[in-house]
Symmetry: C2
Subunit: 201 residues, 2 copies
């Protein structure tokens, strides 16, 4: 039986041009999957996650990509920084949505202010009695808004494929919509399977 299994490992991708050094390991398979699901697709693809990837595709060719540590920033700040005090407690979904909307607007409005605005999460709890849910939404919105703002120049006219889990992708779709960009959510698993199939052939 073992003779029937042939294991192959797909390599990651690195971008070595000075000033743009970056790596991806796994997302390239999803991008290959996208080019199989949407033959001839050209333009921006966003893969939200721990280390979000922004990629410019031209068919099955990867022209350029960049990484934002947004998911990990949320994780370390909410677990290890002083902001954790403002995020502890019951998370009310409606409150979180309201906080997210405000954070998103702040992040998109002034992505250069990220360093200066993270502390607003703490101030909002201390001075305005904001709930844990609201503060969690604010932090998430600030980070995602700043990420989208930082890559704004990469966004074109075409709807942006978002490859990722449905919950996180929906937040990015909301962020893109806030600046007038359309998007289309593609389940990560579907893109991965399509990419593995394409790699085999």
């Amino acid at each position: 039986m073992a003779d029937r299994l042939v294991a192959r490992i797909l390599p990651g991708v690195c971008q070595k041009q000075a000033g743009t050094e970056d790596v991806m390991r796994g997302e390239e398979t999803q991008l290959l999957g996208l080019s199989a699901l949407r033959p001839g697709f050209s333009g921006l693809v966003v893969l939200p996650g721990t280390h979000s990837k922004w990629a410019l595709l031209s068919g099955s060719r990867l022209e350029r990509f960049g990484t934002a540590m947004t998911g990990e920033l949320y994780e370390v700040l909410s677990t290890h920084s002083v902001l954790r005090h403002s995020l502890a407690g019951n998370i009310d979904p409606a409150e979180r949505d309201a906080g997210f909307e405000q954070g998103l607007a702040m992040g998109l409005d002034a992505p250069d202010g990220l360093a200066a605005r993270l502390f607003k999460v703490r101030s909002a709890a201390l001075l305005s009695g904001r709930s844990a849910g609201w503060c969690a939404g604010l932090l998430s919105g600030l980070l995602i808004g700043s990420e989208i703002g930082a890559f704004r120049g990469w966004i074109g006219e075409a709807p942006v494929p978002l490859i990722g889990g449905p919950g996180l992708s929906a937040l990015y779709a909301q962020g893109l919509a806030a600046i007038g960009a359309q998007s289309e959510i593609i389940e990560a698993e579907r893109a991965t399977l399509a990419g593995l199939k394409a790699a085999r052939t």
Copy 2:
């Protein structure tokens, strides 16, 4: 003897105007100290630290302030994020200085790219074989450069007093110099003592 001791607690400061909510606890004493050490001083004062404060003073009046979580971001990212792998090992001071200079330029050049540039620390180690010292400098430079870039509009013509420890203050002085701004380092302890004296009278 106890009758001779009169303990007093100095309150912190909060800024409650919508959109600018912020708090400081301790730095207000150093700012009061500065206004005692430099009677009539008006303008920007920067207090680098875990939560850096940027304050606009007009004599002993605090007009406005903001907080950047730069020191804490460095701490949580270097301890808990994937970047820690690139910072582990011997820190060579010359390498760190070189990395700092590059990070500073990147942060000042595009403070809106902070979210997108933090991962460069990892890429620099993986793709260019950068040392732990260089990567530590890059991270520090990126964060401080982005902070200065975010508050650039607050910087005037006068030399900026930097109240803090000498090592960290020197990095901020280097960052300010890179955009043509002068600064003057004032030892935190000296400002604190002057502030406590001023508060007593």
